[in-house]
């Protein structure tokens, strides 16, 4: 059964520079106990999506349209006090920056106990007891002794654990984790993700994990949604996404990450940067950076369709938003994807890019205020680099 159903969500920010459409007609579904990943680069609308689900969008932002059904009830129709009941109790959130999520003048234990008393009507002693057990659950050593510590006495990794303990304190059905480990070292990240995964299973909590790190998604999630410029461009299970990506942006992301054991000299790049959301390119918003873009892509916005049939799909089905699947393009997408685990990597020293793409010129537009940051060096790939550089050297 669907735990969370978001349909046609549109969120706009009315800024001085213009209207920013941060989330544009977004729909997705998270099942009970499912681990759902949201990937994309900065400006893709990942965090705004999360905040909208919690109804935490503040001025100058506004949820323009759409429904967010949690457990069958529409959060958009609820009163403020009803929503407050849902927050923390049913849906909890973990933010990227643990330090700002914790109140510096209360002890960490008290902050967790407060949430428990408020949401679960526990007495002081029982709340304290539960808080200590939660601290132990998230792997804080000596939880009883550290109950009375203040946040500044904890390291970054420990602070994030406290935030996780707080989020889990009321046994939520959905945990929204926004870049929970981005600020942490890999060794700490590994421990926290492992802990989060086990706790989610133990408490039967669904997770919406927001991150830019494809490694984290591969490790944690069941299904993924890739976002670009406020829209979902691809939805799939992790296996489909990593072994058989359908959207050119997903393919670009997969090939841009350096992988351990991969001895290629150059990384594949996606030229340019995420567009300014005040002025999103016409048609498919990815077309200025897409190696497969054609004339049609500048005019027609691609719908999310089944990449096999080109038909519309349900909320949790495999889908990609590219005109290649609706029969609007003259050519086909042409790329290969190959992902191999570190262990099986043969050490033959051959340059063997995992994902190959033809080096085609992206279609130019002049919509970018600073001028497109297309990677000049990448376009001059084969041969003479503009030697204008250091002539006096």
């Amino acid at each position: 059964m669907a735990l969370l159903e978001v349909e046609d969500l549109t969120v706009k920010f009315y800024t001085e520079e213009g209207v920013v459409t941060a989330v544009d007609d977004l729909s997705f579904r998270i099942k009970r106990g499912e681990k759902f990943g949201v990937v994309g680069e900065s400006g893709a609308g990942k965090s705004v999506t999360a905040l909208s689900v919690m109804r935490l969008i503040e001025e100058p932002g506004r949820i323009e349209s759409g429904t967010v059904r949690f457990d069958g009830e529409d959060l958009m129709e609820m009163s403020e006090s009803e929503v407050r009941d849902v927050r923390g109790n049913d849906i909890a959130m973990i933010f990227q920056d643990a330090q700002t999520a914790l109140n510096p003048v209360y002890t960490v234990g008290e902050q967790i106990a407060e949430a428990i008393r408020h949401h679960l009507d526990y007495g002081d002693a029982a709340a304290r007891d539960r808080a200590i057990r939660l601290l132990d659950d998230v792997g804080i050593p000596e939880p009883e002794a550290r109950y009375d510590d203040y946040p500044h006495e904890f390291s970054g990794g420990m602070q994030q654990r406290v935030v996780i303990a707080m989020a889990l304190s009321c046994d939520p059905d959905l945990l929204i984790a926004d870049e929970p480990t981005t600020a942490l070292d890999v060794t700490i990240e590994a421990k926290i993700l492992d802990r989060l995964e086990r706790l989610a299973e133990e408490y039967d909590t669904a997770i919406q994990l927001i991150t830019h790190d494809l490694g984290v998604i591969a490790e944690m999630c069941d299904r993924v949604m890739v976002m670009y410029a406020g829209r979902a461009v691809e939805k799939a299970t992790v296996e489909e996404m990593y072994y058989d990506p359908k959207h050119p942006y997903t393919v670009g992301l997969m090939s841009a990450i350096p992988r351990i054991g991969d001895r290629q000299d150059r990384l594949q790049t996606i030229p340019g940067t995420m567009p300014d959301l005040v002025e999103v390119p016409s048609g498919c918003s990815f077309h200025p950076r897409c190696p497969f873009a054609e004339e049609e892509c500048t005019r027609k916005q691609p719908p999310l369709v089944d990449p096999e049939t080109g038909e519309g799909v349900g909320l949790s089905d495999r889908a990609a938003a590219c005109l290649a699947y609706t029969g609007d393009l003259d050519n086909e997408l042409d790329y290969e994807v190959e992902v191999r685990g570190r262990a099986e990597q043969p050490d033959d020293g051959q340059p063997d890019p995992r994902v190959r793409r033809p080096d085609s010129e992206p279609v130019r537009t002049d919509s970018d205020p600073v001028g497109l940051d297309t990677d000049l060096l990448d376009q001059n790939d084969d041969g003479e680099d503009d030697a204008g550089g250091l002539s006096d050297g």
Partner: protein, 438 residues
């Protein structure tokens, strides 16, 4: 590029940086101030045309190393020789001239560009300072530089806030290139950037290296970035090198246990990948009072057992954890596992066997430890704990469970061609260790 036959372009010896800490006036007068040993005797060489990667967790001294190389912070001791000339002894004037050859790219592309200067002036400033070009020549040079890093010369009249993070990092790179340097120290050059932009910048750095024959020192916490870009890698832990060697060698056995744990922790972008993750106990200890001997022994899964003991390595690690925990703690709460649904419990009321079960639970110790003598010592320590005699328990554990790693600070042992690891496992005095290369 591989190491060439030439001598190193940059040679660092015993580079050390201690910060004063707790330095109130009274503390200083009473001689109570403590030293944070951010960097403790680091040696490295950089060869022409190569990229040296420096990795490690936060707080291990990466940035201190990068900054003291250029004397952006004054090192406490040690020498930095650039083409034979000692930077640490150079006068201010001389140092300024030398910085023409050694440049720095900063981590934060938002904080490292003056918001009041146009991009043209930011990139042109080093040209003015070092009297390299004026007037038209300067303008030409600025547009050349912008083009070199993949920006448009039209951008010269814009201000930093008009650019995205990746473009700003390009501006920072153009500024570093302006003086035609030999060496560029890059401190986390891509950690603030998105994945697709990160790839553009890494490619740009590689292209510039082959075009201008630059040597890089790249500081990064992301091992996959370092593996991609570096020819050689140094793994820093608490201000010391744990492992140094060619990239391929560092990224495969033999490993320093710390490097192995770091590697195993990287989330692999492949859902089908199943690897054995090594979890380290605890966080990086404070450099205020770094652990004795090998600084990694407090977290090391492979910490060496004393002669004559024979138990599973995980049990030994657990006993070490217990010992370390007791050093700082004076309560039973600190060494026992939390029980569910029990309120306001007085641990001193527990029976001896209940207490034992709880301690074993907290540290993941089995019913009996594999080594009989160790089991007896554990029993004695528990008796003391039961009696509330923490000092006696501490002494019992400290006397019996002392790893060689706590006593001896390992030097960097040669384990292969130009590959060195600072771990007693690779010392010939401990021949029975399983991880050694035959």
């Amino acid at each position: 590029m591989a190491k060439t036959a030439d001598g190193p372009i940059l040679e660092v010896e015993n580079l050390t940086k201690y910060y004063e800490s707790g330095g109130g006036l009274v503390d200083t007068l009473l001689g109570r101030s403590q030293e944070v040993k951010a960097l403790d005797g680091v040696d490295l060489e950089l060869y022409p045309g190569e990229t040296l990667g420096i990795v490690g967790e936060s707080g291990c001294g990466k940035t201190t190393l990068a900054r003291s190389l250029l004397r952006l912070i004054e090192p406490t001791a040690g020498t930095v020789r650039y083409e034979g000339e000692d930077l640490t002894a150079a006068s201010d004037d001389r140092l300024r001239a030398l910085r023409k050859d050694i440049q720095y790219i900063f981590q934060d592309p938002f904080a490292s560009l003056n918001p009041r200067l146009t991009v043209g002036d930011i990139v042109g400033e080093p040209l003015d300072i070092h009297d390299i070009a004026e007037g038209e020549a300067r303008a030409d040079r600025v547009s050349d530089l912008l083009e070199t890093v993949g920006l448009n010369q039209r951008h010269a009249h814009r201000y930093p806030h008009e650019f995205s993070g990746g473009q700003r990092q390009r501006i920072g790179i153009a500024r570093a290139l302006a003086v035609d340097p030999e060496v560029i120290v890059c401190d986390e050059p891509v950690s603030a950037l998105d994945v697709s932009v990160q790839a553009q910048i890494l490619n740009l750095l590689a292209d510039l290296q082959s075009e201008f024959g630059l040597s890089y020192i790249v500081i990064a916490h992301d091992l996959s970035v370092v593996e991609h870009i570096a020819d050689r890698v140094g793994v820093l832990y608490l201000g010391e090198f744990a492992e140094v060697g060619p990239t391929e060698d560092v990224f495969q056995p033999p490993y320093h246990p710390y490097a192995e744990a770091l590697l195993s922790a990287i989330p692999e972008p492949d859902p089908g990948w199943e690897g054995d993750r090594i979890f380290l106990s605890g966080d990086v200890p404070s450099p205020l009072n770094p652990p004795s001997g090998c600084r990694f022994h407090t977290r090391c899964p492979k910490v060496i057992q004393p002669k004559g003991t024979d138990m599973a390595q995980s049990e030994w690690r657990s006993l070490m954890d217990l010992k370390q925990r007791l050093r700082k703690a004076d309560s039973l709460e600190a060494v026992t596992a939390v029980r569910e649904g029990v309120e306001d419990e007085d641990l001193r009321q527990l029976s001896r066997s209940a207490l034992e079960a709880r301690v074993r639970d907290e540290f993941g110790l089995p019913e009996t430890v594999g080594d009989r003598e160790a089991e007896e010592v554990f029993g004695t320590a528990l008796d003391h704990l039961y009696d509330g005699a923490f000092e006696a328990a501490r002494t019992a554990l400290n006397d019996a469970f002392e790893s060689p790693c706590e006593r001896t600070d390992p030097e960097l042992f040669d384990v292969g061609d130009d590959h060195r690891i600072a771990c007693l496992l690779y010392d010939d005095a401990y021949p029975e260790t399983p991880t050694r290369r035959s």
